[in-house]
Point group: C2
Chain length 340, copies 2
């Protein structure tokens, strides 16, 4: 069976997926029985190309690498639903930019695909954040799969691990470092004695932090991820506004030094914890003893420690961002959907 | 559909599996559609009980807890193959004691099951070590699944992660702490300044180390695990005798102190690494910088860092042993086999 892949959003992540698909075509077929064509690529900036017989991936990846875009390939026109139909897509990889308020344009793309029985994988936090229940129900009723490994920790397989690797475990508590920018800043303050302002400046100049860094340093980004995890893992609605949230703006080099001298690292910890039958979500700077793996997490790496009844504590550490790392998240979902 | 589970080996791990199955019957049904009966339990010491309509799990777990064994339940007789047939088993959980030379009795159990199209999960390193290819081929030809999550790191889902969570990644290198006993000893020497002899004595008195500790401290156990991982992950035959192996007997408190003062922890590292197209397997004490998560691994915990093309480094940390932790490994495989 050949799967027809549609890609919505051909920025860094979408392009990385195309690159991996091109590189690994033979391996994916032999190892996982995953045979595919890419039949649709649509991008707000780069336009829409479509060929139900399969676009020339070799040439497209080459053209994207050279910054030439998609102009020289067969054009597609119509609504997104019409494009899906014309392209005979059986799977959609959704990697458009995130809008946490409306979920658009990803939300409409995913609705259009699932309602046609087309499997969807997305790295886009927007639709998962605003319409998780709706999309899960829609997927079920239309016999389509809906997956989203990349919405937390990029391709580090946290969701796969919780769903499959730890199947049968009851998760009691989860604590982790889910925001790379703040961890980069805290690492810099700790290892080099930088002030908060100096460390933030470097994070900004390296492109880790946005020009308005408040989403990261005030803990909003981590709170958003905790809110998503509450929904995905426990089926609980905890809006970002209800996550107890403290950022790192009040952390001083002195506090970090003092903690260090006592054998602790200061980390911005995002957590979910059951207290008296209620799920409690929080983001807060915490002193982690050096004997715990979370204390060793440096720079932009992410990590999560999961406490469960059957396994005690299991910790997963890996990249939290990156174009190829997030492209891998789409790929792993595509392979899973082909295996199911 | 109701799955009929046969359990071979009702020691600590087998009993833990029965306990979890009893506790979670409703949850397993609702969450994973996993409905089951336990129709056969056979144990060299405790005897054999069989009921194709399902043994009374409640009573059996109670009796095992009270140390009363299986004497008061319906007996089964015959060869293991006959028992499987009489019990109408559809899945076998194999948790008999490990014999790394012959693989028995697990090997015969697994052959008997797979050849009848019965899915198998095992925590027993013996059969996986001596007959991995034979059993994988047999499983394939008989349309049965063969899984073995528990042979490395107990229920910490390393194999699931490599197979599913990191599907599409090419593993370039793997390094980890796979022997809890030696890590307990090294942790003790580092944190408390104990001598090797003192630390070993405590490990023995706590039951971590055997009365003959050479399998652990000379690195044989870790080498065996590396050999299994070479086969499972890369399909490569690297016999234990060909693993470059150095144990911890030569590690002194002075060496540990010196490393510590320079920012390193001494750990017994088991590794697989591609060098010039050849897979190289080793077990050796190594100085790990404090900035790396493996340096923070304390006591009997296990950890593996996997370097791959798509994700860079991903580290998984969790229990390496334990009755319930290893029972979980059987459970996760049973759930996966029911889902497939």
């Amino acid at each position: 069976m050949i799967h027809n892949i549609a890609l919505a959003g051909c920025g860094n992540v979408g392009t990385a997926l195309l690159e991996i698909l091109r590189e690994k075509r033979t391996e994916l077929s032999e190892k996982y029985g995953f045979n595919f064509r890419v039949t649709l690529i649509t991008d707000l900036m780069k336009g829409t190309v479509l060929d139900p017989e399969g676009l020339d991936l070799e040439k497209i990846v080459g053209s994207l690498k050279e910054g030439k875009g998609l102009a020289s390939f067969p054009k597609g026109q119509g609504t997104f639903g019409e494009l899906l139909e014309k392209s005979r897509a059986t799977m959609l990889a959704e990697a458009t930019p995130t809008d946490l308020k409306t979920g658009e344009p990803g939300l409409s793309h995913i609705r259009a695909a699932l309602s046609r029985g087309i499997h969807v994988t997305t790295t886009n936090k927007g639709p998962v954040s605003v319409a998780f229940d709706e999309l899960s129900t829609l997927a079920k009723s239309c016999g389509a799969k809906f997956r989203y490994e990349g919405v937390v920790m990029s391709g580090t397989p946290l969701l796969q691990m919780l769903r499959s690797g730890m199947a049968g475990c009851t998760v009691l508590k989860l604590e982790g470092i889910l925001n790379g920018t703040t961890n980069f800043i805290l690492t810099k303050m700790s290892d080099e004695g930088s002030s908060y302002a100096e460390a933030l400046e470097e994070a900004t100049s390296l492109g880790y932090a946005e020009s308005d860094p408040s989403g990261d340093v005030q803990g909003w980004d981590a709170a958003g991820k905790v809110s998503i995890l509450a929904k995905i893992i426990f089926g609980k609605d905890i809006p970002v506004s209800e996550v107890e949230r403290q950022g790192i703006t009040c952390v001083t080099p002195e506090k970090i030094k003092e903690a260090f001298d006592s054998g602790y690292a200061v980390k911005l910890i995002a957590g979910l914890n059951w207290v008296n039958g209620m799920l409690y979500a929080y983001v807060t700077p915490k002193e982690i003893p050096f004997s715990h793996p979370l204390a060793s997490i440096k720079g932009a790496t992410n990590a999560v420690s999961i406490t469960s009844d059957n396994l005690g504590e299991v910790t997963l550490i890996g990249p939290g961002a990156g174009r190829r790392e997030t492209g891998q998240a789409l790929l792993v979902d595509l392979i899973a959907m082909c295996r199911d």
